[in-house]
Amino acid sequence: MDRQQVEKTALLARLKLSESEVVKFTEQLTGLLDYVAILNEIDTDDVEPMAHAVEVSNVLRDDEPASSLARDDALSNAPKSDGVYFLVPPILTEG
């Protein structure tokens, strides 16, 4: 992974990295990605991917309403709120 890829990935992951972190991570992540490349040694053309650890399907719930949280509880951990809404800084938009 090169520095540019690290910066691009950090943007995609919404992670603000310091300069030293960018340098450190570039090295460490390159090492890790080099290591996991050994997976390419195996021929997996005819293998189905295993996304779940348990073979279960069709888990459905009945369409019955259940109680919701009171607004105070829903907002209880909000970093910023006016008691009714979650508040976030505005997005920088044009037009």
Partner: protein
């Protein structure tokens, strides 16, 4: 040089389930009371997990079948990842590569054109986000986030780019909305956001030399009414033509990407939106918290059997069964399933489809529009109206009298249907509206009137057909509700004797 407008529509409809897609919070439009319909799951709290709503999936499959799609026997759920304040998990649970339905079509009647078949690429199920409200003054105040809507079940229906005009687009949307109404899947209310539509528009320019060029595709968002869709399409077509003539840029040119534009309903224009910093990389991932859904061919068939009649089929049936004009059928069926049911009950009760159609499309519809109410809230039940009309058909009262009764029933507001039936008889009795056609009752009066009008009788005998008119009038004044035809017949017979 001429051009073709090419349009594909992407429609999102909210499903009419009682609870949200992955949790038990109630599924209700509630903008006035923010953040009261949430729970750890739809808030995306750490540790929360989704569980699929059975009814949402069933409604989805029904829709897929009604759109003539193939239903996947194996379908799974994927996370579509992006960051936005109205998306608490920072991913939307949706379907990426294995939607539950694909490759269908919808046929819609386009005014002045006939039936247009529009291909459906796919329909899939996903959860809705919450609402992020910006500072309207354009200032730098915080945006406000309401998560009531977060987790509501959404069906995304993607059409093929088969539409060729604003009129076709409108016809498609009208028929889609009607179909979903008939299926009970969604109420498709654009004002409340239960139906949202994005349009993908471009032009195919046909040169005089036989060349064919496609302009870059533009996605138009924030369309908030069917009319808006039409206007936006026409605006875009003109704008793209101008741009093409100026720049010659076409689809596939290097550096040319799909553009996103918003629709400004106030100024009736599309406007460019800031292009995203990075092209949307949604990093789709099969959701490890949800398991796949499998359906057997039998199960799919069972669902198909349980489907109600589609608007297209109902139109055909009404046309043949009740011998109605295409226009009447259209008006009735397009009002929605409930209204069509109403009509059908009325027609069944009175035994005359045309009578029922006239009354429903005129008297009832007029009242509904004035009251701005749905048929479900109409004070005169279908059985009551049908019974009333049956009397007209049986010649027990005149149409004019029936309108009198109808007017009075309307005033009564909601009463029990059984009460309505006796009420009808009561009103007829009170106002003496019953047509008297019992010859016995009329005999005496007819003879008396004739006796007093020998000259007119002679006139009639000598060929003046019209002379009889005043005599009929006299009898009818004497006997309220006398059936004019019967009186006429009796007079003629007696004159002839």
């Amino acid at each position: 040089m001429h051009h073709t407008i090419v349009i594909g529509l992407e429609t999102h409809v909210q499903l009419l389930t009682k609870s949200k897609l992955f949790c038990g919070c109630v599924n209700r439009f509630n903008p006035k009371n923010p953040n009261v319909q949430t729970c750890p799951v739809c808030l995306g709290l750490p540790g929360s997990l989704p569980v699929m709503n059975r009814e949402a999936f069933l409604l989805s499959v029904k829709t897929g079948l009604a759109l003539n799609c193939d239903i996947s026997q194996f379908t799974k759920w994927d996370r579509k990842q992006y960051y936005y304040p109205d998306l608490p998990k920072a991913y939307q649970i949706s379907q990426y590569d294995l939607p539950f339905s694909h490759d269908g079509f919808l046929e819609a009647e386009v005014e002045g054109q006939g039936v247009k078949r529009v291909g459906i690429i796919r329909a899939h199920l996903e959860e809705d986000a919450g609402k992020n409200m910006h500072d309207e003054t354009g200032g730098s105040r915080d945006s406000r986030v309401d998560l009531n809507r977060c987790g509501t079940p959404l069906l995304e229906i993607v059409s093929e780019p088969d539409l060729r005009s604003a009129a076709e687009a409108k016809a498609y949307l009208d028929e889609l909305k009607l179909l979903l109404n008939y299926l009970g899947v969604s109420d498709c209310n654009m004002q409340e956001g239960s139906l949202r539509c994005d349009a993908n528009v471009n032009l195919h320019i046909h040169g005089d030399d036989g060349s064919n060029i496609a302009t870059p595709i533009v996605e138009v968002k924030n369309l908030n009414s069917f009319r808006g869709v039409e206007q936006a399409i026409d605006f875009e077509a003109n704008r793209q033509l101008e741009i093409y003539q100026e720049t010659g840029r076409k689809l596939g040119d290097p550096g040319v990407h799909k553009e996103t534009r918003g629709w400004d309903a106030n100024r009736s224009v599309t406007f460019g939106q800031r292009s995203k910093e990075e092209a949307s990389d949604y990093r789709y991932l099969p959701d490890p918290d949800l398991v796949p859904i499998t359906l057997t061919v039998n199960e799919i068939d069972e669902i198909r059997q349980s489907l109600c009649e589609f608007p297209a089929d109902r139109r055909r049936r009404f046309s043949t069964a009740f011998e109605l004009s295409a226009y009447d059928v259209s008006v009735i069926v397009n009002q929605g399933a409930e209204f069509a049911d109403y009509f059908e009950t009325v027609a069944g009760e009175c035994g005359d489809g045309k009578q029922a159609a006239n009354w429903c499309t005129q008297d009832v519809l007029r009242e509904l529009n004035e009251r701005n109410a749905p048929i479900g809230e109409f004070p005169v039940s279908a059985v009551a109206l049908g019974t009333l009309l049956a009397k007209v058909v049986a010649n027990e009262i005149t149409t004019k009298s029936a309108r009198e009764v109808f007017a009075e029933l309307l005033e009564l507001e909601a009463i029990e249907p059984t009460d309505a039936l006796s009420k009808i008889d009561q009103i007829i009795e009170e106002r003496g509206l019953a047509i008297v056609s019992d010859t016995g009752e009329l005999e005496g009066v007819v003879e008396a009137v004739l006796a007093g009008n020998q000259q007119i009788a002679d006139d009639f005998r000598s060929g003046k057909q019209g002379a009889i008119g005043p005599l009929i009038g006299q009898v009818m004044r004497e006997v309220k509700g006398a059936d004019a035809k019967v009186v006429r017949q009796m007079l003629i017979e007696k004159i002839g004797e």
